[in-house]
């Protein structure tokens, strides 16, 4: 891939920062619309990055979201430091959530985050070390 024909975006996401939560995904969405990318794809990326952002805000000690946009696909990396995910298979089940009550009362943490992210992406990978790094990788193709 020619490096020149790609856009790299990076956002720092802070733990428990609900005032700025959603900013990264809405920024990414705006750029995709300016690129003229099809509405359906934009929506998938928006949902995937939003859920990733919320996961970092709720579950981690903070992290980053990195997006690389090329003419064929969009790669999203959500990387954080935190308690990590003990049982990935369980975390991928819809409705399973470890979010504490005070977060659920805010309307977040319904246990749809990871499954939603997976549903939105064409390629999906997650790696997590307990008390260490969690990295989610998603690729969404731009259909021609």
């Amino acid at each position: 891939m020619n490096e020149k024909n790609s856009i790299k975006l990076e956002y720092e996401i802070l733990q428990n920062d609900f005032t700025r939560a959603g900013e990264a995904s809405s920024n990414i969405k705006k750029i995709l619309k300016q690129l003229g990318i099809e509405a359906k794809i934009v929506r998938k990326v928006a949902i995937a990055t939003y859920e990733a952002e919320m996961n970092i805000v709720i579950h981690s000690y903070g992290g980053i979201i990195k997006v690389i946009i090329t003419e064929q696909y969009i790669d999203i990396y959500a990387i954080d430091k935190g308690p990590g995910i003990k049982d990935i298979e369980l975390a991928m089940k819809e409705g399973y959530s470890t979010a504490p009550n005070h977060i659920r009362e805010l309307g977040f943490g319904a246990g749809m985050g990871l499954p939603n992210m997976k549903r939105c992406s064409d390629e999906f990978n997650i790696e997590s070390t307990p008390n260490g790094k969690t990295e989610v990788y998603m690729r969404i193709y731009i259909s021609k």
């Binding site: 020149k4 024909n5 790609s6 856009i7 995904s25 809405s26 969405k29 705006k30 750029i31 619309k33 300016q34 690129l35 003229g36 990318i37 509405a39 359906k40 934009v42 929506r43 928006a46 949902i47 939003y50 946009i69 090329t70 003419e71 939603n116 731009i142």
Partner: protein
Amino acid sequence: MEEYFHSVVLDKDRCNGCTNCMRRCPTEAIRVRDKKAIIIKERCIDCGECIRVCPYHAQQTQLDTLDKLKKYKYKIAISPMTMYGQFNLDKDMNKVFKGIKMLGFDEVFDEGYAADIITLIIRENLKNNQQPKPLISSLCPAVLRLIQIRFPSLIDNIIRIESPMELAARLARKNAMERYGLKSDEIGIFYITQCPAKVTSIKNPIGIKNSHVDGAISIKQIYGDIVKNSNTVEKIEAFRTASTYGIDWARAGGQSKSIGVDNYIAVDGIDNVIKVLEEIELGKLNNIEYFEGLACVGGCVGGPLCVENPFIAKSRIRRLAEKRNDEIKVSREYAIELYDSGFACWTEKIQSKGAMKLDENIVEAIKKIEEIKKLTSLLPGLDCGSCGAPSCRALAEDIVRGYSKIEDCIFKD
């Protein structure tokens, strides 16, 4: 029909180049060049924010005058739901309608009557609607245009049933043709409007090929004459008037209440609508059945061409609606027939509009985004507006699009 016809236009002589409208515009459609505002046509949604905020009344709506009535043999006025909010509740609406008629019309048709019918149709439609949820109301053309430009992924959520204005015009025309044997072009239908976006919809409709409305006159233009005329009425003529269900469409939330959906969200004010559309786009409101988004604060009672203060008008509508001492007079069978025959439905696809797109070619667009990023980092980030763009980021975009130069920034030389 021009693709980019807009009812909102600028009166250059009055414009002082003050940037008030530019800062307020929800789609960044306004720039100030050589001390005059200009509207970027592809982006304007006719929400009327700039009209409200302009201290010099330079932002205006293109309207017709009563002179245009002369072109037609048979003239029909459609009186909007909001008309009910423009007068004290003890005012007899029959006198108001007579006052409108006395301006030179042969007939006055209450838009609220069409809202009654649409209320019944939507109740029916909701029973087996297969569209993605939440369904989005088709009432406010400013919101529909906003969706075309900024939220095209939500086009499929828009309910494909006509708005009351258009149905009223279609019914009025059909009745007049059948009753008096008139030809279609002998009939002139004029919408008395609170709303610039509706005026745009007449020349450039959404969801249909051609509008049945021939012209628009604002409430402001004729309010004084309606008051004067209505005070001289001695013999009361009984007009066909709407039920409180139809009238309730004039205020935010009234439409949803009339339809009887429980699980709805009603949002008024264009900035609030944008925020909630963002949430819908993220799939966070899939459990909501109906979304009523209205560009004006308070709903149509807040339309920029109304005379009465929106909050007073809204409270009047609320009091009328809360009485609920009546029922919709139209039969359910009649409404269903209008629905099944397609008479009250849209025929055309709603197109998405790529007004925010930087380039047709994605590789070029990617390069432009990189340039915008670079330029934005060079600009001071004050969003002062002195360059004639609403923000530093918008100036960077304009430079990349070739409309501005970096020297337009007063902090760069």
